[in-house]
């Protein structure tokens, strides 16, 4: 077998053309930039008052446009020809494009359907009015499809992401696999890494970890942030009053907690925690709930992220079970959120109230228990036959630490938005109607801040992806053979100056996903500002 070149035999024809077009495009862009500075913006005004563009500007603009179109056409030509003819005619690019064929097909289907029905699809449909949003959406949906098809159905990858083939260590892209049998893929499309594994398959498989964890962790962080941020922004007075039902309830919980602490923790820590909980209750009696939560949020925010990771995500800390206890606290927020959300809506309908609220809360609580409880970890509450979800401990640690880092920022955003929205008339109207505070927070305020929250959600998934990469880069959390991008970059960076491809491929993959999310957020912001 021969080694593949980047563009194969057909490249001899296509490469010169694309080089010329690229050169033209760059020259045109340069002239355009000089032009915007040198030429006047307007030559005069039309009769309807619009600006008459300088004719030189128009020529330059047109040149740039055609060059760009030509460039894009040529690029898609590479992809299309590659997808049809495969590696034999278009080399590595062809081979990759051929492997990604199911993804191209699904993307075309999704885009066609979305563009046809875009007027009926609300905010999602409006996304297809802005080119930036479309590019962002394309990048994101590409990686989501890669996860679904490669992670779920094992379609795109050429080799097993963990198997090592002898003689393929640090090989350049396109090297034929030694001893490949019939039915095996004949080449390592993007070469081998320092343990002779296929770089292409690892990058594709690695997407699954990021695509699953990042949005889920961001969602949990949003649940925590919203559940704490709404009351912090909404209530102005002290939430507890002396000798009321709430006061006794909170004091009781604090008392039980303190006694528990005396049972399991060293005495001095238990005394400290008791004093702390008494202090918190005193604060809740004296000042708004905002003061307490904001102080805690600022405390976490003052912590450098990287130090927090190093403290939380080490095998020694995992042994103490600290991440499991944190998961117990953090994962309860979605249960509380949905319970309160439904209760606030349905408390006027006694006939179905308990069925809906109780049912949903029970199901969520089962999910909660099966996520938190794990055999061999300190938190082992649920019997094994009831345990529906089995989270490996290293995934749980990474998940918890990422949620923990993101929550305070979300809290601050939600709090700020609530402070702004609660002065509106419709909130005053709801208060006059006698609605409960949680109904106003969750069904009046929350739907009206969804725009900024959705935009921030997209940005935050990108940020979470970066955080996951950081964790992998320092070898924290996931085990060293895991194909996720951060860990792969960490493994590849030692030989960076000799064999850069194994580190470069996951780096570019991570960058494209984050870029896609940022562009998507930008597009969404633009479109939601229009109305």
């Amino acid at each position: 077998m021969e080694a593949l070149t980047w563009t194969g035999p057909l490249g001899a024809l296509l490469n010169p053309i694309i080089q010329i077009v690229t050169l033209c495009f760059l020259i045109a862009i340069a002239i355009q930039i000089i032009g915007t500075m040198a030429l006047p913006a307007a030559r005069g005004f039309n009769s309807d008052g619009s600006i008459q563009i300088h004719f030189t500007t128009r020529i330059i603009d047109r040149a740039v446009k055609y060059c760009l179109y030509g460039f894009i056409t040529l690029l898609s030509l590479y992809v299309i020809i590659g997808a049809v003819l495969g590696a034999s005619s278009l080399g590595i690019i062809g081979g990759i494009s051929r492997q990604l064929l199911p993804i191209w097909m699904s993307m075309i289907a999704i885009f066609t359907a979305s563009i046809i029905f875009k007027r009926k699809l609300g905010l999602y449909g409006k996304l297809f009015d802005s080119p930036i949003g479309m590019i962002g959406f394309a990048l994101v949906i590409f990686w989501v499809l890669v996860t679904l098809l490669a992670g779920g159905l094992d379609m795109v990858v050429t080799h097993d992401e963990l198997s090592q083939v002898s003689g393929m260590k640090n090989k350049v892209p396109g090297t034929p696999v030694r001893g490949a049998e019939v039915g095996d893929y004949a080449h390592y499309l993007l070469g081998g890494d320092n343990l002779a594994r296929d770089v292409f398959s690892r990058a594709i498989k690695g997407s699954a970890i990021v695509i699953v964890i990042a949005p889920a962790a961001t969602l949990f962080a949003f649940m925590v942030g919203i559940t704490l941020g709404l009351p912090a922004g909404y209530y102005e007075s002290a939430p507890l009053h002396f000798k009321t039902k709430g006061f006794y309830l909170t004091s009781g919980i604090a008392l039980v907690f303190s006694i528990l602490m005396f049972a399991i923790a060293p005495t001095d820590i238990a005394i400290l925690i008791t004093i702390l909980s008494m202090f918190v209750i005193w604060m809740l009696l004296k000042t708004a709930v905002d003061t307490v939560i904001s102080f805690l949020a600022n405390l976490i925010l003052a912590f450098p992220v990287i130090l927090l990771f190093f403290l939380l995500v080490t095998p020694e800390i995992v042994k103490t079970g600290l991440p499991n206890y944190m998961a117990m606290i953090l994962f309860i927020f979605p249960v509380v959120f949905f319970g309160v959300l439904l209760n606030a809506r349905f408390h006027t309908r006694p006939d179905i109230r308990w069925w809906i609220v109780g049912g949903v809360t029970l199901i969520l609580f089962w999910f909660y228990l099966s996520m938190v409880s794990e055999i061999g970890s300190p938190v082992y509450i649920l019997p094994n036959f009831l345990d529906g979800i089995s989270l490996p401990s290293e995934i749980l640690v990474v998940f918890v630490s990422v949620v923990f880092v993101n929550s305070p920022t979300v809290f601050r955003i939600v709090r700020g938005l609530t402070l702004d929205i609660k002065t509106r008339d419709y909130v005053a109207a709801a208060q006059t109607r006698g609605e409960s505070s949680w109904y106003i927070m969750l069904w009046e305020i929350l739907p009206n801040v969804r725009g900024p929250l959705i935009v921030d959600f997209c940005l935050r998934i990108g940020y979470t992806t970066i955080l996951l990469g950081t964790l992998g880069f320092f070898g924290l959390g996931l085990e060293s053979e895991s194909p996720d991008w951060g860990t792969t970059i960490n493994a590849g960076r030692r030989l960076l100056s000799i064999a850069p491809v194994p580190a470069l491929v996951p780096a570019l993959a991570l960058m494209s996903l984050v870029l896609g999310l940022n562009l998507l957020a930008d597009g969404l912001r633009e479109e939601s500002l229009k109305d």
Partner: protein
Amino acid sequence: MILTAICLTFVVFVMTNLQPNLEKLAKTQGNFRMSDAEVASYLGDRGFNRPMTIKYGEWLGVVPSYRIIGRDGQTRSRCSAHGPVQESTVKYCGVIQGYWGQSWVFKEPVATVIDKRLSRTGALMFWVFLLMIPGALILGILAGMREGSRLDRTLSTVTITTTATPEYVSGVIFIALLASSKFGLSPLLNSWGWTEKRTILKGSATSASKDMPADFDISFLPQFLDGLWFRLAEAPNVENFLLPVITIALYGMGYIARMTRASMAEVMTSQYIRTARLKGVSFRNIVLRHALRNALIAPFTVIMLQIPWLLTGVVIVETLFNYKGFGWALVQAASNNDMDLLLAVSVVSVVVVLLTQLISDIGYVFLNPRIRIS
């Protein structure tokens, strides 16, 4: 602010003093084959098996340090760096007394370690700021002066791309492009005969973190500025320092540029700018004289609040380029559970966070004439 610092250091203290972490420390400092009993006596002799709050009080300097006669007959104290007690050993030694403890990894007093590393990171940050702030402000102002124009859209795409490129990605790309002898631009330029060297830039900044030679002397500078001069000008050069600097600067630049752009765009739509335009002031004068000052108020706050965020970048870049600065020390301290060093590192970073918040608040009041505290 002091309350925050105390809370945070206590958290770090508890985390580093958890039992598995202590065992790891004992095993790395003693030897790996120690039995459980030996680990317990090692830790006991050095005062680790006592209540957490008392140990924290010792570190803070409000509780007298332990004096334990170990199983081997030696009397140890925290104030003598967990070694044998001497005549001169004091009773209280903590942060309040100015003693930061002894680093287990570097076998030096923590204060020395931090001092040395901070000066290196300081030099790195100096160049980063020199590159990042003007770059970000120029990009933001150019993009924001004509909102929606083609220049704006191009520059906005550039800034979105840089914010989407974390340091470990851009660092890898830069090394592959510019500092690899087999890949990217270096072999290309070499084969064309444009460069003599095998790589254009170096993928490691180790040579920029070298120690100052003892006889280092600059004639035109007073003695005490020599060290500063050495860190800023002599040790680093373009070849070994440019890549780490642009790697950090690029990621921070995007965000500041976007904030500047938003602020500039807002100023450009305000009434007084329209008045100036209608009076016939040239566009250049409007941007430079009328808009610029008001547009720069918001970015100042952003730049200040960006500094703590840069810390993560510093840690990543110092690890990637093997530059032995503050971030590198953080990684070493954390992965070896070097508790005193880790505590000092967290104190420094918390102080940086809180100070930048304070400066940004004060600076905002100074820059913005609309806010005056009476």
